[in-house]
Point group: C2
Chain length 360, copies 2
């Protein structure tokens, strides 16, 4: 029996995608090979790769000004790869801090240049806000402004994205990419590890505006230099072929669901159901300001934290798994990515109500 999986990543995948991957495992489309066994330079894999790119461009409406790259190293890798690619002439950047992930990006960028704190969403309750653009105090001439548009650990999502004009906006969108439409033209760089809404761990999607491909530091490794990767169509080094294949299957699935507008509507409904349950009384609590609450990662706390293990054990017994909060914030966290169906969220809120009744 399949469980309802609320993991923050690697995370639930659509069952249809898993079935297709299993069916094609020994022989992809009559090739006599698994996708795992294909040369990345062969026509079979080239077609898989090309189709994934085309579908992703269509889904996210990526303009022709931007290239789509598949890299390795995940979001944490990009924390170094971004400054190494953009600090070539101006080794300085501004950061908007909204949680652990932007904090990590900020700290890692210090290795490569000067970092400036433009705004912070930290309050006495931890990271609970997404500072509005009016609050951002940008420096004079940064190479870029970094923002994590969805903080997986703190559950803070930034919905209001400014147009910064000439200053490239770099967004770590790992945990909400493909959960809703985005105006990609507003971003210089948009990146995300795949293990949330895109596919499996091991491939990073990097969408970069073409004029930013020429700003790398000399210490940037060739395998992670966007220009080199772009010129080689993400095949400068052997790409994580199977991860790209799974992402391609997820893109097809998303198109069948009606694309990002349709999936967004479902995500809004799922998130509302869960937040409404949390807000209904004082038994559960989410600390994030209403306008900055993530639709993807929803941390919540029991008023009586001594009952956390009890809550998690009861959830597990009902097939509701991977609900434990990140160790740095505690409590519970439900990640309700695209592949978590409304039924899963319904089962969770039913259990939450029952647990509350039992506890009262």
């Amino acid at each position: 029996m399949r469980v309802f999986n609320f993991s923050a990543g690697p995370a639930a995948l659509p069952e249809e995608v898993l079935r297709q991957a299993a069916d094609e495992m020994l022989d992809w489309h009559g090739s006599g090979m698994s996708v795992m066994e294909m040369s990345h330079r062969g026509k079979e894999f080239m077609s898989i790769h090309e189709e994934a790119l085309v579908d992703l461009r269509e889904l996210l409406a990526v303009p022709s000004s931007h290239q789509i790259l598949f890299l390795q190293g995940g979001g944490l890798g990009e924390n170094a790869i971004v400054p190494m690619n953009l600090f070539g002439t101006k080794p300085r950047a501004d950061f908007v801090l909204t949680g652990s992930w932007s904090q990590k990006s900020f700290n890692e960028a210090k290795k490569y240049g000067t970092v400036h704190l433009a705004a912070s969403g930290q309050t006495a309750d931890g990271f609970t806000r997404a500072p509005a653009h009016a609050e951002w105090q940008l420096s004079a001439d940064p190479a870029y402004v970094h923002l994590c548009t969805n903080e997986t650990i703190h559950g803070v999502e930034t919905f209001d994205i400014p147009d910064l004009g000439d200053i490239p906006l770099v967004a770590d969108a790992s945990s909400h990419l493909l959960s809703r439409p985005m105006d990609v033209a507003k971003y210089g760089v948009l990146f995300g590890g795949a293990q949330k809404n895109i596919g499996i761990a091991g491939v990073t999607v990097v969408i970069v505006r073409e004029d930013l491909l020429d700003r790398a530091m000399s210490v940037c490794p060739s395998a992670f230099e966007w220009k080199t990767v772009a010129l080689n169509n993400s095949m400068y080094n052997t790409p994580p072929t199977y991860a790209i294949y799974i992402a391609g299957l997820v893109f097809k699935w998303l198109k069948k669901q009606g694309g990002l507008r349709a999936i967004e509507a479902r995500n809004v409904e799922k998130a509302k159901l869960l937040y409404d349950t949390i807000d209904a009384g004082s038994f559960y609590k989410n600390k994030v300001e209403r306008g900055a609450r993530s639709r993807m990662n929803i941390p919540f706390f029991l008023a009586d934290e001594s009952r956390n293990d009890d809550f998690l054990a009861g959830a597990k017994a009902r097939g509701l798994v991977q609900l434990k909060g990140h160790k740095s914030v505690g409590g519970m966290r439900a990640s309700i990515y695209n592949a978590v169906a409304l039924d899963g969220v319904k089962a969770l809120v039913e259990y939450m109500k029952e647990f509350e009744r039992r506890g009262a």
Copy 2:
């Protein structure tokens, strides 16, 4: 129908491994989840990861002085990651060049320090030799000596590994790792992309002696700093979980085959069969010196190169695929990794003999 797959990588996998992966795709061991969907911090994936490490250590007899890390970025990534990890105090290294891969490592290391050419196997026929240790002209005090123990493109394998005493030997063993036993104690660092004998593209095995974990340059990205990766048991950033799972299945398969001594005996037999066929007349040719011929990657050329396409088309019609040589050297290349069965090599040499008879 499954083909005989001679791809240089990503490459053939054992059919048993593919069947098991397909069988477990929707529900791993009753967990109700695919391995793709598991948090890397959960007990299910932790057990998969731990078992892969234990099996790899046993298979390759990795001594307790060495740590096994799973990274991302492949062999090409390591070309930068190695100097960034070892040039912290002495930014200089020596290189033994035996083909394209060591050449690329040499060029990339220049970004981070001084490189010294200790020996080269290049002749008028291209890279055809593995310079013996007596020929290596080492510099006074290098941070390490780099060697590619098997050149995937040129088909040059180095079997005779010196003990360099205090100087760390770094070996790119991507395309022969796990094809035979190795004396790991002789190496400071041994690394390899998985997409040859280990599993699928997207995970890099790095085996590093513990005393070398403290020599990183300040520009080394945290996600690729071996010390950080080691301290976090390869989970500093989200590891490529599915690629580690597949590698684990391959390790179990290798143990069932009798381990590396048994697999080496089979590889010797397969390579002999193919080289004997090439050497039997003047119709086919391999240019590499006898003692340096790779058991894994066997490039060969027709005396009449105008018939290359004809040869490849005939091979494909018999289910012998991915035999085209690398574009930089031309001709044909048969990669006969562990998962390519003796039957596959027999089918290839039968076809080669038939093609020769037809052509005569």
